[in-house]
Subunit: 303 residues, 2 copies
């Protein structure tokens, strides 16, 4: 099973018997609550709102978001709201977290706490699904936002995070392309050496549940025609499900190229914690926020 | 003056009183000669062919490329053909070079020779013009193919090469965006430190003839709307002429995203030598080869 586009994912989530519960940390923010309202209206999520209760009620009334008072937790201070949000996940009151009006570092602090957090032992990474104008299925790009310059071991964690997330969505053996500027291992380009090492870890059973190829250039990963022209033979060529980038600089350019140059749609969240953590920013479109809630709901259901 | 699209550039080149002379190194290659024939048919170039004369004549006859025998230099061996091509430029027999059937390293060896080559004292870099689906003008991306991990001084050279090339096309004070994953200088991200250093070199007069901004993210460089949303105020925001990438990994992903994901058109060549050097590969489309000849002709005329 692979997801062809976001519509398939939306239909899947709408078919669930009941909406997933999203815990919004520092929810007193109009932009965030508007995204929540859209997903609530479609029956996709049920909100649990943590933050300045008076402000939340005021914004909710203004935008027509119906929310039960029992589902609002009054924590006006951002750090306390983050802490309480994590606690609510432990208490089984929510299925995943969405960041409201607080800094990314503030929401992540209680998440990564070794004793009371939501860690899995692996690094956390940013999982993004992209809907491209000329590709036959959704494409995962990772990690363009969380790990800046991951080591080989951290890249392994990122792949495991990604594969686990895709399995929760119903994928089997997704195809992972470890991209680099060239297809040959070149000691002067560490990105190619690590891409090859990840491929070997897959061959020797150290990373399972996926097919890893690398080093492989982006055009070969996405186009069978170009792969044939360049004589690159691999099941991943032209059919990649996942693009693993070597660092945040490459990941950021890829993400921005997709959204600004190709005008593709995207949805994303942090994976590698016990539950998904949706981080959207001021720069995120309303559509991206909505799709990210859909994606987190779908993944939560599959776990 | 800025170039809105490739059609404007093609019209400009067609208006020249006579075609530019392209010296093709190791010209005994059907793909290369087909690209040449298209440009010859449109009156854009006049070919000077260096390589296996018998083979060149055979291919030329087969594809209907008219070429005077005086303009064919019999050098069947690739390295000798490259050497002779450079010599022909020195003798004033050609305006620029195109790579035929030989390795990039083979054509560059006589070009970079300190005594008999075509060096300018600066590093050479790959200049690519991209025609994007949703941008208001052609965009230069550099360097995604030549310098792998340029130092700060080499990045300066790349900017100077690029600005000189744009000046030859009629640009004044092009806007250069030194892109990075974030907009704030962060000592843990050397890409941001060097982007800021390049901006300072521009402010203090060390790099002239352009407006440099950085660190700046790709979305801000290309979208005024996103720049406004993120509060980034700069004449370069939303109006960049040039994207300077920090290294080949970022440049390669950007180039492949543009061609494969966004299906933009591109044309490119090596700059920083006394004449442009067109390097196309098997993976290059016929359109890319043609546009690269157009671009090299236009730049040559402006020098």
């Amino acid at each position: 099973m692979v997801l062809k586009n976001f519509d398939v994912l939306i239909e899947k989530v709408k078919s669930f018997p009941e909406p997933k519960k999203v815990v919004v940390a520092a929810a007193g923010d109009a932009h965030t609550l508007e995204a929540i309202r859209e997903a609530v209206d479609e029956g996709i999520v049920k909100p649990v709102l943590v933050g300045d209760k008076a402000k939340i009620l005021e914004i909710a009334a203004g935008i027509g978001l119906a929310v039960e008072e029992d589902d609002i937790y009054d924590e006006p201070e951002a750090a306390a709201a983050a802490q309480r949000s994590v606690a609510l996940i432990h208490e089984g009151r929510g299925d995943f977290i969405m960041k409201g009006k607080l800094e990314t570092a503030q929401i992540l602090k209680p998440v990564v706490n070794r004793e009371t957090g939501l860690g899995t032992g692996r690094v956390m990474s940013h999982f993004v699904f992209d809907e491209l104008p000329y590709y036959h299925k959704l494409l995962v790009t990772t990690d363009g936002g969380m790990m800046t310059y991951p080591t080989l071991e951290q890249k392994k964690d990122i792949i495991v995070n990604t594969v686990e997330t895709l399995e929760a969505l119903g994928y089997e053996n997704p195809k992972v392309a470890c991209v680099a500027a060239v297809e040959k291992v070149n000691p002067k380009m560490p990105e190619t050496v690590e891409a090859d090492a990840l491929k070997q870890m897959n061959r020797n059973g150290e990373i399972t549940g996926c097919i890893i190829e690398g080093p492989i250039s982006l055009d070969i990963a996405l186009s069978k025609e170009i792969a044939d022209l360049k004589g690159y033979d691999s099941p991943v060529a032209g059919d990649a499900d996942v693009i693993l980038v070597p660092n945040i600089q490459v990941g950021n350019i890829l993400g921005k190229s997709i959204t600004v140059i190709a005008r593709g749609n995207m949805a994303g969240f942090i994976v590698g914690a016990k539950v998904p953590i949706v981080l959207t920013s001021r720069g995120s479109s309303a559509k991206e926020k909505y799709l990210s809630l859909v994606l987190a709901s779908a993944v939560t259901a599959g776990k």
